[in-house]
Amino acid sequence: MQQTESQYKRPKETRRSVLIADKVADKTITIGGALVIAAVLGMMVFLVLKVVPLFEGGAVQSHREYSLEMPGSRTLALAIDDLKTIAVRVSEDGRITAWHVDSGSPLESPRFDLQGKQVTAFSQCIDQRHMAFGFFDGSVRFASVQFKTEILTPEGLPAGLKELSAGDKSDGRAIYSIIPGNQVRKTWIEVELEEPIQASASNSPIIALDYRLKHFGERPSKTLAAIDRQLVGVAMRVESKLNLFTRKTTLAVDKAELPALPAGTAVTHALVDEGANSVYFVDKSGTVYRFNTRGLEEPFLAEVLRVTPSGVDVNVFSFLVGESSIVVGGSDGSVNIFFLLNRPDAAAQDSLTLVKTRTFAPQPAAIVGFSPSEQSKTFATLDASGGIRVRHATSERTLVSVRESGMPRSDLAGMIVLAPRVDGLLALGNPITADFWGLSIPHPETSLRTLFGKVWYEGYPEPTYTWQSTGATEAFEPKISLVPLIFGTLKATFYSLLFAIPVALLAAIYTSEFLDPDLRGKIKPAIEVMASIPSVVLGFVAALVLAPVVETWIAAVLLVFVVVPMSLVLAAYLWQLVPPPIALRMEGIPKFLFMLSVVCLAMFTAYHVGPVFEDLFFDGNFKAWLNRDRGAAAPFWFLALLPVSAVAVSTGLSRLFGQRFNRYIRTLQPFPAALADLGRWLAVAGGTLAASYIMALVLQGIGIDPRSSVVGTYVQRNTLVVGFAMGFAVIPIIYTLADDALNSVPDHLRSASLGCGATIWQTTIWVILPTAISGVFSAVMIGMGRAVGETMILVMSAGNTPLLDLNIFNGLRALSANIAVELPEAPKDDTLYRVLFLTGLVLFAMTFVINTIAEMVRLHFRKRSMQL
């Protein structure tokens, strides 16, 4: 080359603007990258912060101690109002002591006029407001202490109020509290004592009493169990009926006298449920006498059993809210919960029995006090040495140890009561000292065990993993096990990948290795468009169109899985019979159309053969067959084992005859060779059918039935539908990434293999796929990540039933769908709200683990083929 002279001298130093641009780009990228990492970490930290309070239990926030002037008579009951303004003590002589909770200032209060009769038994309802007195003469009187409130304006305040504490004033009878919004809340007490009802037929003193109140709108129904000194028990239901014309209340009393207990029984506790179905009398030594009083018609002694070891007295025997859990506190400090469960093998006549289901950390001294919450399964226990624990029944957790045990003062062992909203606890000593603790227990029901472990829920025959976050009443026990949700996610992922992976990978192999590049250039973008279908549309179509269609033609749908692959293979063998010159001309689009029409034809066949197939295999009705109503297991096993036996028979035959057959086939002209090949395939197919049938018979003979495990009762929105719909979402992703991975295998390897005389299929299986395996694996894992996180399809088409059930024809609820479904139910910072964040965190962890494993495996594979 001739050097040309030029006047222009190119400057050799780098221009300033280039340097600046370079620096700016460098910094921008650094900051941007750091921000992305920070955002991801921040997300993680945020989730963890939202979740941590679930595991924190509770804390004591404040403590007040006051000495009160109280009448010397024995304390029967304590009560606090909802807003922790006034505390009330009821004593044996019917006197009521009330005081301001914050300051301990006494309030003037009315009293129950018991007419000087001696109280021999007493019972307080779980709402703390209602109570019943049992008297020496065998009569019972219902009473109540009501906390009344009224909202006033500051102008309405009476003059001369005494300041008690910040914001609270008193006129000696009521408390006036200043509340937000420039308003005043007035709180005062009203009492009511009803007329006596005779409980003991023999006018003997009542020795134990239990009272339940149930509000049926305007008609309160009172249930009472009592026992007199003659050891004759009685169960009563008292309903007050209001006559709408006369405005007069009449009492309707249903009463059942129970068989007498054996003489010498020292009954200390009585217990009855709202419906008066069971009455329990407990002997001091721990023997429980359970009477079945269903309908109050023919009561009988159903069961006698001990609930404490011998030598241990029962000091507490009481229901938690909902009346399913019976808390038993022993003189050894033990606290246990019993359920009344249906056990067909139970010794009791009514096949019910008390089962110990929950055990709590014991306290060092005898349990002497107990207070349940009206709103949750939280309760407090007091021991003889003054220790107070607040516990939660479901999580079996001690939430707060309000006061440590082991104080050398037995005078602390008086009585305790939980504030109705479980935000405070009042303890009365004996003689009178009072302590009040402010508590904060935001999430009593959560623990690692309730979230991830098996829990024995109320009314359940055994411990289970259950998700049921909200119920109709406050007595409902929230069940927040994430296990069914994790299972649902895995199940949906498994079944959708079972459908998506073979389809997507075979499609990728087909377009990358077999298809004419021009055609590939058209088909690949078309499949990629599938990925852009919004998942809500897929879910919507799956739920409203696909699910009913699949349900209607379920037999045909199942048949498609057999017929389509078989007819494709058959078509391939038939294609070999086409003379090579014609076959060569038909490559590309005509061949593709031929295959497409084969698939359509196969579906058409399946649709028409479906009913016959159902008749032959499932006794004419697939869904009835699934319910085990009819038919045997063998036909299903036959279908399920087809792929396995196909692989076994074809490898077996090729091991035995493969080489001889290949040698023979090479001596033939193309057409007879193709015929022979077809014959071989037919032999393999026949062998497969036979082998599968024999195995099915064997399995049936052993007695293994797939029903109620992998298949079972048919539900319209089921995992099969989810598999289809999610497959639609996942197939394009796996397909396009796998196709790229296969396509990026260097052509020189393809040439090398083809140059060795390998066919395209051999090249694909032996060289291309192993080389591209890291990419193919990533494709599958990314598809899996998509399936795990997929939400809308699952919300709409999976039925959202949180079940632990492998059955492909049943629904499921996935973690992601759970967040979407429960979000409207979860007020901010509520337990459910935080559990949903935990659900998100678990989902995050799952995708994180999947992606990490994917990346590790990918790097491992890539190291092998890196030098290419």
Partner: protein, 269 residues
């Protein structure tokens, strides 16, 4: 080892043609879409000889080589005219089994292309593709092929190691061993030394020399000295046409065509 008895390869048993030719190319034209790459090429390849194809870049020598075992089939829009006769079969005839054809021709590529598998698996690949699973036969083939490819001594202790761990020259000899293992009639070599250093190149050239007579070798090369050193016959191609074909000594010392003389003396190209 007798391939005849193990895989029954009989379809392409190649008979030597008249006057010792194994392969004859007759008026062969080739188009990539609208572009014609080969124009009326006619030549014969003698059995047991090393035939070199030389010429400047883009002259069609690789295209011609790849036409012989129909590796060009993979390119879409390919058209051919004329014949290439192997023994007594036109390989572009209507009933040709292309896969079977390739089994009779080993091919070595410009860039060493071992498979990402073990050394032994690489060499036995052509046999395993044929469905041969007999371990003894496979081991024997691997041994013979590696010995013939002068690689045995270097890799005998690491037959199970990944072939990608070998040096470039070793990889190329492994590829030759793989081509030999199929017991082909013809070895097609497409610039086998262009990616190698001089020492490795010398080893490959020695190997070609040793394989002479046992296999019919057709080698495409850029390197005139290499063509002069290893080949018996040389074909000079230019712009898709065969310009001159004859004994290597003649082509290099006394070419008939002016352009050949200019090329072999390095004055054009």
């Amino acid at each position: 080892m007798d391939m005849e008895s193990t895989n029954g390869q009989t379809v392409y048993h190649i008979k030597k043609g008249p006057d010792g030719t194994l392969l004859s190319i007759e008026h062969f034209d080739l188009w990539y879409g609208e572009t014609q790459a080969l124009f009326d090429v006619t030549m014969t390849v003698e059995k047991g000889f090393v035939t070199a194809l030389i010429g400047p870049s883009g002259c069609g020598k690789s295209t011609l080589l790849r036409s012989i075992n129909r590796m060009n089939d993979l390119i879409s829009g390919l058209k051919t005219d004329g014949k290439i006769v192997l023994g007594d079969t036109d390989i572009y005839g209507p009933n040709v089994d292309v896969i079977g054809l390739r089994k009779t021709m080993g091919m070595v590529f410009q860039k060493p292309n071992p498979f990402p598998m073990s050394i032994a698996d690489n060499v036995s690949y052509p046999l395993r593709v044929d469905g041969i699973r007999n371990r003894k036969v496979l081991e024997e083939t691997v041994y013979n092929a590696l010995v013939h490819a002068a690689l045995w001594d270097e890799v005998k202790d690491r037959l199970r190691d990944n072939a990608l761990g070998l040096s470039g020259g070793q990889q190329q000899r492994l590829c030759i061993a793989r081509a030999i293992a199929a017991d082909p009639e013809v070895l097609l070599m497409d610039e086998p030394c262009s990616a190698l250093d001089p020492v490795a190149t010398a080893k490959i050239e020695d190997l070609i020399d040793e394989l002479r007579g046992r296999y019919t070798i057709i080698i495409v090369t850029h390197n005139m000295q290499q063509a002069a050193r290893v080949s018996d016959n040389t074909a000079f191609m230019y712009l898709g046409k065969l310009i001159e074909y004859g004994r290597t000594s003649t082509i290099f010392t006394n070419p008939k065509v002016d352009r050949t003389r200019l090329y072999v003396t390095g004055r054009f190209g």
